[in-house]
């Protein structure tokens, strides 16, 4: 057993950290306040290979694997939840679906420019009546010669209004439902009948955009069907499995940052003639945060290692769900405790704890609520002892 990061991953972490601190940290407060997507950062990130971290170099990626991608998400989320979310939706799920199930032609045409950061991706699953119950989607795709006509709408799509390429899930055979009746498609924003609707105002991750998408007889070439026809549900679930690890990695980074900020504050804040770090109440908060963060770190990188070494069965899927649940909950606790330690200062917009607290909350909801993740975990566990739950 060897828990050390490879030399290349160590250098990668240093590079990503310097990039995040020099290029992203200075704009984090402003993009949150102005609800502005930091295109200038995304462009620079793309030129350094940060928009295609896990993908092989032959597809324009960095070839750094899931471990390298988790390092990126960890370091990025330390300084800016919004930027990390944009990269996560682009790389971790939008482009990931094409990488996992795309044909060689689709990868050359779509994945290469996405991995290089020349184009932005989004992942469109959620609908007004289908979020956690993903099988209940209503967006329809009907064959029309060499095309499919898509009709329906998607909601709360991260990067929805800035994406050039969108992985979209649609029903191709309502009779078959999720098992055989749902297909994934690659949609370009220029396709006729594709429209971007309302852009949401949010509690946190406000520098990332979240939008509604409409498909009105949207003409998608038949060759843009992604993965096996009718097996789109599997493509999307498989993609989300992978996305959940890096989401957890982002949570790890932000939680680590919350701990560091809390320690710095507890060291320099004097009350009753001593730093508040001398109080047992503060020490226990710090210790509990640190314990959870270390446990999370082990979980994240073990699961990323499983992915990189090709161990992507049911066990992996269970671990990925755990990364998402535990990561988001460790982060939300850490952000809450960090705010408490900072006291009044933590509540003020002037200091980054307030933003971190708001940014943290979504992680327990998006990419599959924690409640649904717990169901997945329990179902997989019971299945091992012969009980199949639905």
């Amino acid at each position: 057993m060897d828990f050390t990061f490879s030399k290349e991953h160590q250098l990668l972490r240093r590079m990503v950290r310097e990039f995040a601190e020099q290029e992203v940290a200075p704009i984090a407060e402003e993009i949150d306040r102005e609800e502005r997507v930091p295109f200038e950062v995304l462009e620079k990130a793309g030129k350094l290979g940060l928009m295609g971290m896990p993908f092989p170099q032959k597809y324009g990626g960095a070839g750094a694997g899931e471990i390298g991608y988790c390092i990126l998400m960890e370091e990025m989320n330390k300084v800016c939840g919004s930027t990390a979310t944009i990269i996560g939706a682009h790389t971790g799920i939008g482009a990931m679906a094409i990488y996992l199930d795309g044909t060689e032609e689709q990868k050359q045409k779509y994945l290469v420019p996405l991995a290089r950061g020349e184009k932005i991706a989004a992942f469109a699953l959620t609908e007004p009546n289908a979020g956690s119950d993903a099988a209940a989607i209503q967006t329809r795709a009907v064959r029309d010669g060499d095309y499919f006509l898509l009709n329906g709408s998607k909601t709360w799509i991260t990067n929805g209004d800035i994406a050039d390429v969108i992985s979209v899930l649609a029903v191709t055979d309502p009779a078959l439902g999720a098992r055989g009746g749902v297909t994934a498609f690659i949609v370009e924003k220029e396709f006729p009948g594709f429209k971007v609707g309302h852009k949401e105002e949010k509690l946190g991750i406000r520098g990332s955009s979240t939008a509604e998408l409409f498909f009105e007889d949207c003409r998608v070439p038949a060759e843009n069907a992604l993965g096996m026809f009718g097996a789109g549900f599997l493509t999307f679930m498989k993609t989300l499995d992978v996305g959940r690890i890096s989401l957890g990695a982002g949570c790890l980074g932000a939680a680590q940052k919350a701990l560091e900020m809390s320690m710095d504050f507890a060291k320099s804040r004097y009350q009753f003639g001593a730093p508040i770090a001398a109080k047992q109440a503060i020490q226990w908060m710090i210790a509990d945060m640190a314990i959870e963060i270390e446990a999370l770190r082990s979980m994240i990188y073990r699961t990323a290692w499983m992915m990189d070494s090709g161990q992507t069965g049911r066990e992996f899927s269970t671990m990925a769900a755990m990364c998402k649940v535990y990561g988001s909950e460790v982060l939300c606790r850490a952000a809450d405790v960090a705010l408490q330690i900072h006291g009044g200062m933590g509540y003020m917009k002037k200091y980054p704890v307030e933003r971190m607290y708001r940014d943290a909350r979504i992680t327990r909801i998006f990419e599959g609520t924690n409640e649904v993740q717990r169901e997945i975990i329990a179902r997989n566990l019971f299945r091992k002892i012969g009980l199949r739950l639905r």
């Binding site: 030399k7 290349e8 250098l11 990668l12 990503v16 310097e18 350094l48 960095a62 750094a64």
Partner: protein, 261 residues
């Protein structure tokens, strides 16, 4: 065109701590980096590579782990990397270091330009660059902020205390670069992977460059460190808190007592 960049691996801190007992640097737990101004030198070389197609070779002397500094240089865009590492090189002062690097540069041969950082953040001597130039008997321009190559010559603007000097020299020449010259690039993520997984670092020992063991390492060093120590901390100052008129009198009194005035 062939450009050689001399780089040094240093601890990533400007506050190097000393072991009070042994007087040596405490390196444990301190990550190692490419000396910052050596990175500026490398950036100059890589910019020239982009405009002229020059070949960029990075060279370093140090323990085997200095390989990481060279891998980072490869990730930034250097074409070849050479590490001078041998027990015989250990304990070298700046003279013996310059001798070793000088011999290695002759082994590389037909270079047009040698670049180095102004000085390293650990030793702060700024000696090795100029000494290598002396060893090779080539022109040297130190503290370079910017330079151009033109028809077998280099024209450089060097920073001096109250302005700049413009100096022209025949190639091959050695230049030491200051941090104001540029902002070193980030390596591309893919290049980091390739630097470790596919590219090679050449290791040269004393025999590979035909160095006489008497002229390198501790044996070839005319200077030796007798003792390293941190200067004793400054004693806290005295604040005179009386009213301005009184304070002036008090101050004069104190200075008189100390025989300063």
């Amino acid at each position: 065109m062939k450009i050689v960049v001399m780089i040094k691996q240093v601890p990533d801190t400007t506050e190097v701590k000393l072991d009070q007992r042994t007087g040596t640097l405490i390196r444990e737990g301190v990550p190692s980096i490419i000396n910052p101004e050596d990175k500026n030198a490398l950036e100059e070389a890589l910019t020239l590579k982009e405009s002229t197609g020059a070949e960029v070779i990075v060279i370093s002397m140090g323990p085997p782990q200095a390989e990481d500094a060279l891998r980072e240089a490869l990730a930034m865009g250097a074409d070849k990397a050479i590490l001078l590492t041998d027990r015989a090189f250990a304990g070298a002062d700046t003279w013996a270091t310059a001798t070793t690097v000088g011999i290695a540069l002759k082994t590389i041969g037909d270079f047009d330009l040698v670049l180095a950082g102004r000085q390293a953040i650990d030793g702060d001597t700024a000696q090795v660059g100029p000494q290598v130039a002396e060893y090779l008997q080539i022109p040297q321009i130190t503290y370079v902020r910017e330079f151009v190559l033109d028809d077998g010559k280099v024209r450089a603007r060097r920073a001096v205390e109250d302005g700049f000097e413009e100096i022209e020299a025949e190639l091959p020449a050695l230049l030491t670069i200051i941090k104001e010259a540029n902002t070193p690039r980030f390596p591309h993520a893919a290049a980091i992977m390739t630097a470790y997984r596919e590219q090679e670092v050449t290791f040269w020992g004393a025999e590979d460059i035909g160095a006489d063991p008497e002229t390198v390492g501790l044996k070839g060093s005319p200077t030796q460190v007798k003792r390293s120590f941190s200067p004793p901390p400054k004693e806290p100052g005295q604040i005179i808190q009386s009213a301005p008129g009184e304070a002036a009198k008090d101050l004069v009194g104190i200075l008189r007592n100390k025989n300063i005035i």
